[in-house]
Amino acid sequence: MAETQVHAAHHAPSQGFIRKYVFSVDHKIIGIQYLTLSMVSAFIGMALSWAMRIHLAYPDFRIPILGWLSPNGAPNGLMTPEYYLSLMTMHGTIMAFFVLTAAPFAGFGNFVLPIQVGAADMAFPRLNMSSFWVTFVGFLLAAATFFIPDGPPLSGWTAYAPLSAVGSVAGPGQGLGQTLWVLSIAMFCVASLMGALNFIVTTLDMRTKGLTLSRLPLSTWAWFIDAWVSLLAFAVLLPCGLLLALDRLGGTSFFIPGGLVFNDQLQPHSGGSPLLFQHLFWFFGHPEVYIIILPAFGIVSHIFPTFIRKPLVGGWKVITFAEIAVGTLSFVVWGHHMFVSGMSPFMAMVFSVPTLFITIPSVIAVLVWVFSLYGANIRFDTPMLYSLGFVSLFITGGIGGFFLAQPSTDSYLHATSFVVGHFHFTMGLSAIFATFAGFYYWYPKIFGRTMNEKLGKLHFWLSFVGVYCVFITLHLTGFAGSVRRYSAFVDDFMIPLMPAQRFMTISALLLGAAQFIFLFNAIWSRFKGPKSSDNPWGATTLEWATTSPPPFDNFGGRQLTVYHGPMEYDDEASVMQTSPEASIAGT
């Protein structure tokens, strides 16, 4: 019976290195594992973008390490057009899935959410462990494509059929590389579904005494909403991937129409529809960008009150309802990716309206952040600088959305670098900035040490300016019609844009170099950073009501009671959620 009791009180602390740090069921270790995986992925993804940018602006520049990695893809360090597309595909895949989906949601969510709700662990710790390891296997499958003879697939992260479905007749990388890619994505789907289920049950079921939904920290709110979006979206990407795998391996024709001819050979498929693939993919794909950005909303909304020393305007309600509205609307706008795809032009108009209307809750969120600064006492620690940077980037990114949400303007800008600039601002760099904000903010809690402020600020300034230099320029060249996913610019009208290409490449190299300041800071501070107190920022939520780092069961067996909302700030004063003192901010 003793065994049953320990089980009821969650699992006992594990013994041995493997159980403690590798196959750990502790949500904190799993969170760190996710963060580590996404940091490694981010540097790989960034290296790929460097290689691409160098090739675009300086096509004759040799990159010896590429030649070593793939003698076929980059003979003597000069990449072939197909290898460029392979790198581009893997850049998108790694960044969208293993960095942007993994870090702000699974990484910080795993570490922080159970502590913020006052629980000892996730609802299903072993399921949680499987989430990470299935993600990791997915990552290995994706990474393995670099080491097979034909290299990674070249169909982009969207893997449009039939390019992705017909196999190696469509080009190098479309054989084994694309198969591994599909399996990798299917693994990622399964892992995300398990993670989303765990997040939802933990938030609903494991909250400590007094922690009503209205007192939930805003980061937990966002992860909770995000988990629902993930749960529904990845549940559709999974069958999309399975059907694609059936087309590739089982000889079916879900996405492959009849009469296709490659190398003068008629293909044996018939009756499938490439548009079906696009519908299934974008039914996932559009919510995916909100899966990426909602945790960023939450992290920033959570960090803001601490550094402006007052609650957000509108309290928890306005920002949370805006997030719920964004999450809900995200499921009815996927067709705006398909305006020029041959979908009915009437449907284009149908999809355009909710796409434009999703601006309203997004604008409300931005107004909440911006107008919360009014009358505030803003402190510019690195997490806050990154949060402010996020707001600026998100505004800029959102503006591009107006152009792409309308079929008429999109028909000119679709598939130009304008789109690339737009999504890098809205979901790419915005989410990365929020992730950095979260990283600098929670680092003391995770490792018990503080990161270096000076290096943190230097990292911020270089990143902030670098992002604008690269991605605004992409918008501008997009107006000139510069087409995305080109491995070289041979068209007459694109050659005059070369100075812009070189400017972007140099900016991207500097932007990337700045990230090594962060890497150094993160590793160095882990061992040499000054020891942090339990609550270095003077914050109020439960993760700051325990030691840094927290004990195995988060609160040393204490049962906490919550008395307040998460935003009890008034200048220097603040009231912990767990403190029975009177409210000072009326939340």
Binding site: T80, P81, S155, Y160, P162, L163, A170, G258, L260, F262, L266, P274, L275, K310, P311, V313, G314, V318, V340, G342, P345, A348, M349, S352, L356, F357, T359, I364, V368, F371, L373, G375, A376, N377, F380, S392, I395, I399, G400, F402, F403, Q406, P407, S408, T409, S411, Y412, A415, W461, Y468, L476, F479, G481, R484, A488, V490, D491, F493, D570, D571
Partner: protein, 266 residues
């Protein structure tokens, strides 16, 4: 200090961006189509609406950060709280997006909902990795049926025509460049023989995907002679960057001569 720097950087970035957009540092080429001005107008309209939001948003952000950075004393909320913000978002942004939807749908409708002129010159376009081919119906005004199994690049049978058995196919003219008469309505039918491709001519303000298995109509009228690039904008494989063709907009008599020459080369 950090706040003031942040505010200055944000304002600078905003001004530089606005300057580049307003002065058209890199910009759309001159429009040569009948429907194009509607799209250009919609883009300008959107630049105005979205640009104002962009500048206002960044400037307000910068000024609050500038003003309240490092402030001390009792913090206060904006008078009225969140209610005016929500009302602003619903009323002003709501009106803006409604207006954009309505005006934009007119521009879209002008391109897609107007039936092609019955007198249009019909041209078939076949896209494949990594080239476009064009087909004119010839004197009989009829296109021969397509037989994908006959497609053979070596024989230059790019469309899969069977002139020996299909009388309609006998006089079909297949070309690697597209010539069209100026001021004449054109109706293209897009087919792809392998994967997705796209037909993008910046000057025409036309972008339309080729979807394997579908025949997709596109119609337009060009009003200015010249030679323009058609480029592929849908990722189609390793030669994607190099997939292009030329569109020549010719006077009617030049077009007739050109087509005759093409017919002679069949």
């Amino acid at each position: 200090m950090a706040g003031k720097v942040f505010a200055v950087v944000v304002v600078l970035v905003t001004l530089v961006t606005a300057y580049c957009v307003v002065t058209h540092v890199w910009w759309m080429p001159v429009d040569i189509s009948v429907h194009g001005p509607k799209i250009d107008h919609q883009i300008e309209e959107t630049i105005l609406v979205a640009g104002l939001l962009f500048i206002a948003g960044q400037i307000v952000l910068a000024s609050f950060v500038f003003r309240y950075g490092g402030a001390t004393g009792k913090p206060k909320q904006i008078p009225g709280g969140a209610k005016p913000l929500v009302i602003f978002a619903f009323v002003l942004v709501g009106t803006e997006v409604l207006a954009l939807s309505f005006i934009g749908s007119k521009a879209w409708g002008a391109v897609y909902f107007e039936a092609p002129d019955p007198s249009s010159l019909r041209i078939d376009v076949q896209a494949g990795q990594f080239a476009y081919y064009f087909r004119y119906s010839g004197p009989d005004g009829k296109f021969g049926p397509l037989h994908p199994e006959l497609i053979n690049e070596g024989n230059q049978n790019y469309f899969g025509l069977d002139p020996d058995h299909d009388p309609d196919a006998k006089d079909d003219i297949v070309t690697a460049e597209i010539g069209i008469p100026v001021n004449k309505p054109i109706l293209l039918t897009l087919h792809s023989k392998d994967v997705g491709h796209s037909f993008y001519v910046r000057e025409l303000r036309v972008q339309q995907d080729f979807v394997p298995g579908l025949s997709i109509p596109v119609h337009f009228t060009a009003i200015q002679t010249g030679r323009y690039e058609i480029v592929c904008t849908q990722l189609c494989g390793l030669g994607h960057y190099n997939m292009k063709a030329y569109l020549s907009v010719l006077s009617q008599s030049d077009f007739d001569d050109w087509l005759k020459k093409q017919a002679a080369m069949q």
